[in-house]
Symmetry: C4
Subunit: 264 residues, 4 copies
């Protein structure tokens, strides 16, 4: 392939904002963005496939299959203080380092065509303990942005302790900058197990995001939704881990004596 | 390379159905499709080579070699209720995640040129125990297809328990959908050891497939054929595992102290 | 991507010399070249991004992020006995073998356009012990160069004991030769732990280089500068190691029985 | 890069035969082909570089470096019963499965331009024990070739026991067939440790090859030559093993808890 976007419809959007929520720590970004898609009844307009996802299909209850993918949704502003949105959710991030760059760059190029100049990347921040009220920590592509967003409940002080953001969310902000896009990464504090979705952290992130975007979202059904998602997320992660292990694990028999001796 | 198809002959086919049977769990798909090729005396018209197969040649009894490959065969319908067929068999699937996508996409693109709109992917389904009468479990690219095929002995209920189909068979159905192809995956229940070919499961899959395709195939020689195949299959798997292990296994000496210290 | 250079400005340089100092053993090359950039007040004119770097962003104290990159600086000669310089520093080298070739070739092609015919690659040489006065060991693209540079305090005798130079520094000299570039590798002796930056070794390399280039550099602040760099370098290396481990480590559960059995 | 051939001179050859001898088991092929180059005073006309070789340079006694490479030599027939030759030797084979295909295909394409229709691939065959008189086992691209070559001391019976030939030698024969080239693989029996060069096995292979090609070669200096080569070969293998280990070895600290948890 290696990474391609299949577009069903080219939406006409006015200065759209891009919101990203792919699977990751506590699946915070994935839950928040997925809930946003449902509540806004955003419309799917494109799908992304990549050979940097695991080579398998997921099986639905109706016996139909789907290849691992990322999905693009759009939503048109309903009020003057709102903005058109493009929301990205998906089954998976890249399974290899190189793929992260390829996928993010492919998406950024596509977003540029759609007129995107602002990015909100939603993700989890592993802090190793559960918190009653998880904070939302912020990172920006440009320090100027802090002034604009510090009035929302975002902690722009703690980010330095983290040091790095690994995966798509960080790259969207960092590589988007090369294309003149302004980016904010909203990181919800969470225990740090990717297998256990953290709806509380996702809610914290959603609360900040919807305030910024002037959206009214009822987050009361978030917990229930996460329960439904949990099974699918677990399925992907289980197979991914098992399959990755089998692909990467060297057979135990391969002894030292034989090292490289197979090449005639 | 990386993946290329060498075509000997461009067959003129009328609305052909594609049947895929590559090595996998219990080699169910490989055995079923291979037997079909022999019984129908299908004609080879193309071969696929890929740098995502292991880099070695197989040695035949007459001292000649062949590079690992997949093979395309065609068969023309003999009766009005039959359909032209393209059958894919082969020595190997991709040895890395990325290659699965590349190989399946290369094949689908080629099949599109040959006019294929329907796919039957044959594979094994690991259930961890031996069954006297293995079932055939089905997965589809589109739930509409279930109505069409539920009259055959296909279990469309159990598929949800599986969760995923890893490798080429799933991708053929899943990625074929992006090209407007209708796909059914027929999974024969089997113990789940790839090294031990399972002729009983392959027979179950063949019985369903030949009924759908209105073919008359004598499956009595299947057991004997599998014995003959077994040696070749074992050979490929042994070398593959050994070689993969040697390529991926880090030398044991490489201590912790030296980590990354080799870069000047 | 995979590797791309973003140019801010195309400097007009006269027969420029290229000086390379990327992270590596003891970070000797990185420290020496970085200090040179600061002391000369060299001007950044281009950045290099690559999918062969780890897929993460670094977080600055001001909450802004940057993607791992290499940076090109230029400096114009101030005196008749000096030469224009292009200096390369960066956060990282490639994390996979293939990437080293791709990145070095991409840079060499770019340097050719900028008129570079001479290369100085700065690096560390792991000797396993600390020395009061670390030597600078030299390797060349062409034995003729030894005559020209043996008057400087470079040890051209010990190089044979090393056997190889792994990573970018060696490739710059070796592959540059294919493009008619003359290259000298200056290797500062150091204990050999990449995590601990070695300012003493970097100073030894700088002293040789500045004599060759007729530059006057005050090396007294080198120790202090290294302290400042240390934190950033450690951050990159920690995450890189942790992330690489997670990407490459097969999950422990994947047992022997299941080997490759996941492919249907 | 990824794989490129740098040509110094395009030799005018008449129906040339290609002889391949790259490093491998017992370095049998490398020693035999390297000795042939020296004895025939064959002339180097091209070099091949590849990002599928390890990213390091080798250091010579005169402090100069060279990037790992393969080298093409030619020799023009001196007598009517001889044929023009192209001989390939080199420092390394590909370090990853994919690279073997890429390098062999790049070379075959180049050879086709040079008019090559016949290939002799020289390699070792690991038998696990030392033999006073190692046999030369043969494999062919086409069973017809056995008739032509069975009068030479080649064992065409044992090949079936081997099952496979891993690496470049097998692929040259197997993929060359797709380009209408006739290929013979001459495998000298050897203990099977790649680190220990086996001059006796190489001599057996050379004796068969020179008879076929009507060449008169004094093999008495072979043992001495091998001693000289041994050091270089060991150097490459040591660094390659160490470096590969460091690139592939996951840091031990990466515990189970953290699995994939690094992605935000």
């Amino acid at each position: 392939m290696t990474t391609k976007i299949v577009e069903f419809e080219r939406p006409k959007l006015k200065n759209p904002i891009f919101v990203e929520g792919l699977p990751g720590i506590g699946n915070v970004g994935r839950i928040a963005a997925g809930y946003l898609v449902e509540e806004l009844k955003a419309k799917k307009f494109a799908e992304l496939f990549s050979s940097h996802f695991m080579p398998f299909v997921l099986l639905h209850e109706n016996s139909s299959v789907h290849v691992l993918k990322n999905e693009f949704y759009y939503w048109k502003a309903k009020a003057p203080n709102q903005r058109d949105l493009i929301i990205l959710i998906g089954d998976s991030q890249s399974i290899d380092p190189e793929g992260h760059y390829e996928i993010v760059e492919t998406i950024l190029e596509y977003l540029q065509k759609l007129g995107v100049k602002e990015i909100f990347a939603l993700a989890g921040l592993s802090i190793g303990e559960e918190k009653e009220k998880p904070k939302v920590v912020g990172a920006v592509s440009d320090p100027e942005l802090i002034k604009k967003y510090e009035k929302y409940e975002i902690d722009f002080q703690s980010v330095n302790k983290i040091g790095t953001i690994v995966g798509a969310s960080g790259l969207f902000i960092g590589l988007g900058k090369n294309r003149g896009m302004k980016g904010v990464c909203l990181l919800g504090e969470t225990v740090g197990f990717p297998i256990i979705p953290d709806p509380k952290s996702a809610e914290a992130v959603l609360n900040v995001l919807t305030k910024i975007l002037n959206l009214k979202i009822d987050t009361s059904r978030l917990g229930k939704k996460v329960k439904e998602m949990e099974e699918l997320i677990k399925k992907v992660e289980d197979v991914q881990k098992k399959a990755l292990g089998q692909l990467l694990a060297p057979p135990e028999k391969a002894g030292k004596k034989e090292e490289l001796s197979y090449i005639g």
